[in-house]
Symmetry: C2
Subunit: 347 residues, 2 copies
Amino acid sequence: MTLTIALDAMGGDDAPEVVVRGADRARQQRGDLAFSIYGDEARVGPLLAKRSELGAVSRFVHTDSHVAADAKPSQALRQGRGSSMWKAIEAVKSGEAAAAVSAGNTGALMAMAKFQLKTLAGIDRPAIATVMPTAKRDTVILDLGANVDCAPENLVQFAVMGEVYARAVLGVAKPEVGLLNIGTEDYKGDDTVRAAAAMLRASDLPIEFVGYVEGTDVTAGKVDVVVTDGFTGNVALKIAEGTSRLYAHKLRTVFKASWRAKLGYMLLRQELDGLRRQLDPRRYNGAMFLGLAGIVVKSHGGTDTVGFANAIGVAANLVARGTNERITQELGRLGDEAAERARLAAS
Amino acid sequence: MTLTIALDAMGGDDAPEVVVRGADRARQQRGDLAFSIYGDEARVGPLLAKRSELGAVSRFVHTDSHVAADAKPSQALRQGRGSSMWKAIEAVKSGEAAAAVSAGNTGALMAMAKFQLKTLAGIDRPAIATVMPTAKRDTVILDLGANVDCAPENLVQFAVMGEVYARAVLGVAKPEVGLLNIGTEDYKGDDTVRAAAAMLRASDLPIEFVGYVEGTDVTAGKVDVVVTDGFTGNVALKIAEGTSRLYAHKLRTVFKASWRAKLGYMLLRQELDGLRRQLDPRRYNGAMFLGLAGIVVKSHGGTDTVGFANAIGVAANLVARGTNERITQELGRLGDEAAERARLAAS
């Protein structure tokens, strides 16, 4: 079966080049992809013309405008109806595409996706999720910035969505879910986190909720899914990225410090390249908007061809594994169980 | 002039050994220290007896109890009046010691310190601050967990305290202060962060407020002082620590992967040791409780002799540089300026 992915060709620092090259790379990596590409014909046309195999599986639609990287989401929503970003999401809504991928303005993408696609039944607010490398496993973390203020119910819904993602896409049999906090004792944290923990413990959700996790637990890989509000999650992910970059930078300096060091680096190069591949941020590129009635993936604005191709792969996996259908099922079961408990309590 | 530091000998994973050894090391590092040591005589006595030079500058006071690592702060406050932690803080209150250092329960230490010492005039809530290494400079970050919910006024006061610390103790001529957020655009963040930014911009405080910083800006060393609420700050610091640990662990594996890799490591060892010393978490051990009418420093519970000695050094520096007096001055000036502006507006 062919999966059609809608692409916002104009989003990201190096658009449209990276988008078109990334699509071509993704096409080579898996044989089941087709594309609907939205962007400026004068810029995208020549790039597609040079790639006949990509052209053969792509439909190109010219758009007159695109969303600026620094546009306010509300403004983009009002003024960006004909933009490449809007059109890519619209293709998901109409069923023409199975998913949309953009490396453009995150806030605008979320606002447009919410407006056009609406949320899944049982979800009040969608969340942004990604996978990060840790000492022991790949860990899903959400929310990363869609919701700066969260109610306990939102965090519970994030837990369900993250758990389904870890099961459906990462293939973890029984994902362990933790709630990010500033300590593991019961009394730690704010009212929202404590209330969400109480709800997760009290619910009969088929979720392996392990309780609170701290920042150091996240990087140690204590759980498969880390649930938090969008403010904390955004800071946590960017601090992790920044610390990795700091280490990489310091190490590069060390490896060039002397002839002796350079020789040492040459001897270690094979292993260090392996480590670099393992922790390569491009491998983890592609933040999923979970909880929408449609699949939308946000690529890092500054990524390259490899990273953008990976974001397309993330979108394709979300579709192929039926992630949204499973989230709806889980939430339906949650509703059924709540109804059942109410019936039992009343009888 | 001799600085007397009060020590809770019973706090921390390896107390009292690490505390006594750390005190001895700090004494050797700087000649102006004396100690008031509080703890269980049966355990601390023999350790002191073996160290005559430390004994010569120490006063030991037996205490019957100590605060458990997992005690709830409110409970510690009610039941821990005779504990080694309580007595160490009491010594600061009575003027017998210039500062207190403990590696015990953070929440209990803050609760007892607030109760006994009270806050400085103009400070509603004390904050926990530490110094972290970044790509460009040592950066002060606060709050790290004393206040999970903050009002904008609290964040403004944290900015003043952090700025004074960077100037007085780190010796930065004109520290740049940033407010941690999930983006740098004006509309990003929650109401509290936006209100705090507006207050910092509107005030005539002699503070170099550069606006919002993101997680990646923190590790890149964009500012000297990072201001945030205690929930976000705690997660940020622990994610940074955890990511460093993850890298160190992965690198150790690489360096042992083969004979070739081991040889490479040997050639790089000198430079890598330099890097390790530079990023050594023990060098950054010692979280300051800023905003109290008295100096209290919290050491990591799991630190070793080197780390504990460093925490004592942090406390001594805070005293020697007159940090609290300077914070009070700044806040006084803030009050004067507000009064002056009100006068001008009314005239």
